[in-house]
C-alpha cells in the first residue's frame, strides 16, 4: 500500500438511469496510485453499474471519468485504448471458454496490444505464476475450479499492465473454501502497489486491505472513510445497519481472515 499522491482514477458526478429507474445519482470519488478502495452496499445500490460506467461498458448519462488526467468520457480517443488500462474482473469470471488458461491470458496481448507470440507467451506464463497457476496453464476453464478460474481471470487482466483494476464481487460466485485463495491474490496485488476498486461483501478483507471503504446505497455514496472509522464509528445509521446485517450473513468467513 505504497501510496503516492497522483490520482489515477477520478469519477465525477456520475448519473445513470435505466428507463425511469435512477440507478446512479451523482457518484464521485477518486483513487490515488497504489490505493485500494473497497465499495460496499446492498444489492441493487448500483455498484456494478458504477464499475461498468468507469470503463464505459455502460455509458453514463452525465458526469465524467478521468484516467491519469485523460478524460475517458466524451473522448475522441478510442475507448479501447482506455479499456486496456482499466482492468475488470467479473463475479462469474467470464474466462474465454474455448481457450486454455495460458491462451486466455495471452490473447489480449496478441490481439489487442499486438505483441509477438513468443513475448506474449513469456508474459502470460509470468502472470500465471503471479497467481500461482503456472501448472494449470494448459487446462481449459471447464477443467478449473472456481477459485482457479478467478485467478486466471486476474492474470488475464494483469497481463494488460492496467493502471487500475476494477473487481466486481470477485468471490461472490465461489464456494466458501475457495474464497481465501482469491482474496490472497488480490491482497498481494494491493501490497505490491496495484491501484484497485473492489466491490465485495468480504468485510475481513475490507478491514485488512482497504485504504478507504465507500458505502453506497440507492445510487449514492452515503458514507466513506478508513475501514477503522467506517466499521467502528460510521457516520450514518444506515451504514451501521448494513454492516451489522452483512456481518450476520458473512460474519464467520470474514472473521477467519
Amino acid at each position: 500500500m505504497q501510496k503516492d499522491n497522483t490520482i489515477v482514477l477520478r469519477v465525477e458526478d456520475i448519473y445513470k438511469n435505466y428507463g425511469n429507474v435512477e440507478v446512479l445519482k451523482g457518484v464521485s470519488f477518486e483513487i490515488k496510485k497504489g490505493e485500494t478502495k473497497v465499495i460496499i452496499g446492498p444489492s441493487g445500490s448500483g455498484k456494478s453499474t458504477l464499475l461498468r460506467c468507469i470503463n464505459q461498458l455502460t455509458i453514463p448519462d452525465k458526469g465524467r471519468i478521468w484516467l491519469e488526467n485523460q478524460e475517458v468520457t466524451h473522448t475522441k480517443k478510442n475507448i479501447n485504448q482506455f479499456r486496456q488500462k482499466i482492468g475488470m474482473v467479473f463475479q462469474d469470471f467470464n474466462l474465454f471458454d474455448h481457450l486454455n488458461a495460458l491462451r486466455n491470458v495471452e490473447i489480449g496481448l496478441i490481439k489487442v496490444r499486438g505483441m509477438g507470440k513468443d513475448e506474449a507467451r513469456q508474459k502470460a506464463i509470468e502472470e500465471l505464476k503471479q497467481v500461482g497457476l503456472e501448472e494449470q496453464a494448459n487446462l481449459y476453464p471447464a477443467q478449473l475450479s472456481g477459485g482457479q478460474k478467478q485467478r486466471v481471470s486476474i492474470a488475464r487482466t494483469l497481463a494488460m499492465d492496467p493502471s487500475v483494476i476494477l473487481f466486481d464481487e470477485p468471490t461472490s460466485a465461489l464456494d466458501p473454501e475457495l474464497i481465501g485463495e482469491v482474496l490472497e491474490v488480490i491482497k498481494k496485488l494491493a501490497l505490491n502497489g496495484m491501484t484497485m476498486a473492489v466491490v465485495t461483501h468480504e468485510m475481513g478483507f475490507a478491514r485488512s486491505v482497504a485504504n478507504e471503504v465507500i458505502f453506497m446505497e440507492d445510487g449514492k455514496i452515503i458514507d466513506q472513510g478508513s475501514p477503522r472509522k467506517l466499521f467502528t464509528n460510521p457516520e450514518h445509521a444506515r451504514t451501521r445497519k448494513f454492516l451489522s446485517k452483512i456481518t450476520e450473513l458473512y460474519g464467520r468467513s470474514a472473521e477467519k481472515k
Partner: protein, 228 residues
C-alpha cells in the same frame, strides 16, 4: 440378374465421374455458403439495424423459394440477363451456395446468440473492438457449437444437388437418367445412383463427426455432462 450386374458394372465409371461433379458442386456450394454465412451471422448479431435488416431480407428470400425455382431464376434469368456466360457447374455452385449461405448464417447466428454475454463483456473490457471480439472470441465457440447443424446442412445440400439435373449439369442423376434411357434398365441404374448418394451422405457426416471430435474442447458439447 447377371445382365443387371453387367449393366451396373458398365455404367459405374460413368456414374462415379458424375459423383465427382456432385462432390465438387456440394463442396463449392458449402464453401461459398460458409464464406458468406459467417459475415452474415456477425452482421445480423452485431451489426446495425440496416445491415441486420438487409441480411434478414436475404435469408427470407433464399429460404422462401424452392431450389428449382432459384436455379431457373438465376440460370435462365439473372445470369442470362447479365449476359454472364456461366457453365451449369458454376451456376449450380453459385445458386446452391447463395442459398446455403442463408441457411448457414442462421445456424451460426443461433450459435452466436447462445453464447453468454459475459464472453463479449470480458473481451470488450480487455480493449478488443466489437469486430475483434466477434472474430476471436465468439466465432470460434459458435463454430464448434454449429458443427452438428452444419453436418446436417451438408447432407441437405448433397441431396438438393440432384436438382441441378434440371439445368443439365452432368452430375449423378443426369448421368443415371442418360444411361437408364439408353439401356432400358432404370431399376439397377437408379439403385446404383441411390447407393452412391447414401455413401456420400454417410461418409461426409462421418468425416464431419471426426472433425467435431478433433476440435472438441473440454466443457463443450457432449463432454460437458461428463465434467459437471
Amino acid at each position: 440378374m447377371a445382365e443387371n450386374l453387367l449393366s451396373i458394372y458398365e455404367a459405374l465409371p460413368y456414374l462415379l465421374r458424375g459423383s465427382l461433379v456432385t462432390i465438387g458442386l456440394v463442396g463449392g456450394a458449402l464453401a461459398l455458403g460458409l464464406t458468406l454465412g459467417i459475415p452474415m451471422a456477425i452482421g445480423q448479431v452485431y451489426g446495425n439495424k440496416y445491415s441486420a435488416g438487409l441480411i434478414s431480407f436475404y435469408v427470407w428470400f433464399f429460404r422462401g423459394l424452392p431450389v428449382l425455382v432459384l436455379l431457373f431464376l438465376f440460370y435462365f434469368g439473372l445470369f442470362t440477363v447479365l449476359s454472364l456466360d456461366l457453365s451449369a457447374f458454376t451456376a449450380g455452385i453459385l445458386v446452391l451456395g447463395l442459398r446455403s449461405a442463408a441457411y448457414q448464417s442462421q445456424i451460426f447466428r443461433g450459435a452466436m446468440q447462445s453464447i453468454g454475454e459475459g464472453q463479449m463483456l470480458a473481451a470488450r473490457s480487455l480493449g478488443m473492438s466489437k469486430a475483434k471480439a466477434a472474430w476471436h472470441i465468439i466465432l470460434p465457440q459458435a463454430l464448434r457449437i454449429s458443427l452438428p447443424g452444419w453436418s446436417n446442412e451438408y447432407s441437405i445440400i448433397l441431396k438438393d444437388s440432384a436438382v441441378t439435373y434440371a439445368i443439365g449439369l452432368t452430375e449423378i442423376m443426369t448421368r443415371g437418367k442418360f444411361i437408364a434411357t439408353r439401356t432400358f434398365k432404370p431399376m439397377p441404374i437408379f439403385l446404383t445412383c441411390a447407393l452412391i448418394f447414401l455413401i456420400l451422405t454417410y461418409g461426409g457426416v462421418k468425416l464431419l463427426n471426426l472433425l467435431e471430435k478433433k476440435v472438441r474442447i473440454p466443457g463443450y458439447g457432449t463432454e460437458r455432462e461428463g465434467i459437471y
